[in-house]
């Protein structure tokens, strides 16, 4: 007998174990699996049976008791509710406070607003819309960025007709942000007109009675009021890409220049463009009236320099004037003026900024959403928001020209004048990219690494490449 055979026969029990697992282990496995399956089945059945009957929101349950039977009858009245993604600012909070109750009473619609910072809105919204997973019925979005997402917003021409919305009541330049391919895709919600915001007291101390109307007057005033290091005449905004570029556009446009021609060819490097950039670079390096740290100042830091009494003037949107009236932050409360930016041809001619309300295509409550968008910009609410210090950014012409508001808030004269001459800003998806390109090159001009002409030629060339790639010159 061979060793292996002998081994096999000598130990029959072990052989049996090797051939088959022990009976007790097999039974153990079966018990475990069986218990698991049974548990899942029981749990699932219990969950299904115990689930309450589906009831629509707002439904009421009544019990009707008969002699022998108790019936439960569910009646449904669908409660109307819309969700809004709003931007974090005083205007949003005031709008909500002022209009929530009246809107709910008038239309029976509850508004749930989620308030977010601009940055968060602009980062999370594109992907939500692209995935058709936007949970909001209304989105408050910056107008100059809206063209990039225009194809995700529902056109509202039908609602405008149905509710007889007078579009001519809105500032025309603001309507440009809410139009896309000849369709209206939103309503203006908040205006922004570029202003010359200045320290009235600093100006009066050196005998300047009113703000400059032309760019040469601005320089003369700047040289008079400049008293470094206690007071600088001007602060630029070199940290954020929209800062020094919008200052450049203010000069360019108010002096008769354009950013593009009718064929979308860049014109920023025209003679007026070079003159504009040279002006600012000279303010900084030659006349030294610009705050020396301007290239490191963001919009908040620039504002703090003004309202802290260390800078005499800035070019900024109206929110800065509102902030200057806050006694907790500002030393120039009641002494802050707001006027149109200077201009050699049309003072104040600059593109309007602003925010609009847009309805995503996948919203199931588009009409209710539109009713809210239309309601919040009614003149009576706009006026009340301003009177309650909720920013000075109305979108209707009537509100901007309201004499009571002009008497109460002196910036309204400047706002009204700016709104009458401002133009619609660029309205195409590649605009952000173009601005960032210009910003990079303008920094080189401010750092004197490039001349203004070289700066604008390079920027214009890159703008042309971007637009060509996007198919504008086909």
């Amino acid at each position: 007998m061979k060793k292996s055979e002998k081994k096999e026969s000598e130990d029959p029990e072990q052989n049996a174990e090797r051939a088959d697992p022990p009976e007790k282990d097999r039974r153990g496995y079966l018990k475990t699996v069986g218990a698991l399956v049974a548990g899942l089945a029981v749990g699932g059945a219990a969950a299904w049976l115990g689930k309450p009957a589906e009831r629509l929101p707002g439904a009421t349950v009544t019990e009707r008791v008969t002699e022998t039977v108790t019936e439960t009858v569910t009646t449904t009245t669908a409660a109307k509710e819309i969700s809004v993604l709003g931007v974090d600012c005083e205007q949003t909070r005031k709008i909500l406070d002022i209009t929530r109750e009246s809107f709910e009473k008038e239309f029976g619609i509850t508004v749930n607003m989620e308030i977010s910072g601009t940055g968060e809105i602009m980062t999370k919204l594109p992907t939500m819309l692209a995935a058709a997973a936007c949970p909001y019925d209304v989105i408050v979005y910056p107008g100059d960025s809206a063209p990039g997402l225009a194809e995700y917003f529902r056109p509202i021409d039908d609602f405008i007709e149905k509710y007889d919305v007078r579009l001519d009541e809105f500032v025309p330049a603001l309507m440009g942000y809410v139009k896309f391919k000849d369709q209206i895709i939103g309503l203006p919600w908040r205006s922004d007109f570029f202003l010359h915001v200045y320290n009235e007291e600093a100006y009066e101390n050196v005998g300047i009675e009113k703000p400059a109307e032309t760019w040469s007057e601005f320089l003369e005033n700047a040289l008079q009021v400049n008293d470094p290091p206690n007071m600088y005449a001007f602060a630029a905004q070199g940290k954020d890409f929209w800062g020094i570029t919008q200052e450049f556009f203010a000069y360019l446009l108010s002096s008769g220049g354009e950013m593009f021609d009718e064929n979308m060819m860049p014109m920023i490097n025209s003679d007026i463009g070079v003159e504009a950039l040279t002006y600012y670079v000279d303010l900084f390096h030659v006349h030294k009236v610009t705050h020396p740290e301007s290239m490191a100042l963001g919009y908040m830091e620039k504002l703090f320099e003004l309202i802290g009494g260390r800078v005499a003037s800035i070019f900024e949107w109206p929110w800065s004037w509102t902030e200057a009236q806050n006694p907790e932050k500002s030393v120039i409360v009641g002494k802050c003026g707001g006027w149109t930016v200077p201009g050699n041809v049309i003072p104040g001619r600059m593109f309007a900024g602003g925010w609009g309300t847009f309805i995503p295509k996948e919203s199931k409550k588009a009409e209710e959403a539109f009713q809210w968008c239309n309601w919040i910009t009614q003149p009576k609410w706009e006026k009340e928001v301003v009177m309650r210090k909720g920013d000075t950014c109305p979108v209707r012409i009537a509100t901007l020209n309201d004499p009571e508001l002009a008497a109460e808030f002196k910036v309204f004269e400047g706002l009204s004048k700016s709104s009458s001459v401002c133009i619609q800003g660029p309205n195409f998806p590649e605009w952000n990219e173009c601005r960032q390109i210009l910003f990079r090159y303008m920094h080189d001009a401010y750092d004197e690494k490039l001349t203004p002409k070289e700066t604008l030629d390079k920027a214009a060339e890159e703008w042309h490449d971007v637009l060509e790639k996007a198919g504008y010159y086909a």
Binding site: Y29, K239, E293, Q436
Partner: protein, 291 residues
């Protein structure tokens, strides 16, 4: 015995069957996004023009990227920051670890204080350093001016990279210090004692005994910090938004192309290309260090 046909497979693989649901789900959530984004990188998907769909363009995005001066710039910026930051952190971490290893009085308390920056999130670090670098409110500038020095323009295009390295090192030097301190405290005592008996000076002991023994730990710290530094985003975004080319690191390049310019395909391709470049460089880096 009751034979159960086919039961052998189940009982042999029962454990695997129990964890199978988890593996399937984890792979769906892990592999599917990778595969989909790889596909998107081969298309010209523009978020602002959904009506154009996702036209397949093959490797075109990758080819354009390799010639894109902005992409090349972001690679250079990222590598410069990584090299500078890792160098500073390892050097400073080593010095701090050696000092703490002396077990002087109060070392425990000092160690806790030194670890605090590591517990701050990168975004908060960005906010702190943004305030410190804002010239109009910066206490650093104030004290530098008090002693007669002219503070640099921290976030200008000329100085932004050192500023980022300083902020990153403030946060992550304690991490390196911790690793090296643990290494120092676990070194075998015999070689050190032998060196002492042989009359080696402190410097000789450090150079010829301690550092060679600590080399594997130092390499580990370098590798860990290198991987961490390549992922830098939050702090740089808060400091500068990557607005200037000299602060546009790889991650900001990718995010900007996606969320500012809406070039989804291009952005996806850039993220893969960055990953490949970083992987290749990291492998070379580790290979050179290990030699």
């Amino acid at each position: 015995m009751i034979p159960l046909r086919g039961f052998g497979f189940v009982e042999r693989h029962l454990a695997s069957l129990f964890i199978l649901p988890y593996i399937v789900i984890a792979n769906i959530f892990g592999i599917f996004p990778l595969a989909y984004s790889m596909y998107v990188s081969l298309t010209e998907y523009n978020l602002a023009r959904p009506h154009l769909g996702m036209p397949f363009v093959g490797m075109a995005n990758y080819i354009i990227l390799l010639g894109d001066p902005n992409f090349q710039n972001s690679i250079m910026v990222t590598f410069t920051i990584v090299a500078g930051a890792v160098f500073v952190q390892v050097l400073a971490g080593l010095v701090l670890a050696l000092l703490l290893n002396l077990n002087l009085k109060g070392a425990g308390f000092v160690k806790i204080l030194l670890l605090l920056p590591m517990m701050v999130t990168p975004s908060v670090t960005g906010i702190i350093w943004r305030i410190l670098y804002t010239p109009t409110v910066s206490p650093i500038n104030y004290y530098l001016q008090t002693i007669g020095l002219i503070p640099p323009r921290w976030l200008s295009s000329d100085f932004v990279i050192p500023s980022i390295i300083i902020a990153d090192s403030w946060q992550w030097t304690p991490f390196v210090m911790l690793i090296l301190l643990a290494g120092l405290q676990n070194l075998p005592p015999e070689p050190i004692e032998a060196a002492k008996i042989d009359g080696a000076s402190r410097w000789q002991m450090l150079r010829y005994v301690t550092l060679p023994l600590l080399k594997p730990i130092i390499l580990t710290a370098i590798v860990l910090r290198t991987i961490g530094a390549f992922k830098i985003f939050d702090m740089v975004f808060i400091l500068t938004r990557g607005a200037l080319p000299s602060s546009e690191v790889a991650s900001i390049f990718v995010v900007k192309r996606l969320l500012d310019f809406y070039y989804v395909g291009y952005s996806a391709a850039s993220s893969y290309l960055f990953a490949i470049i970083i992987m290749v460089i990291s492998i070379l880096y580790i290979w050179v260090l290990r030699r």
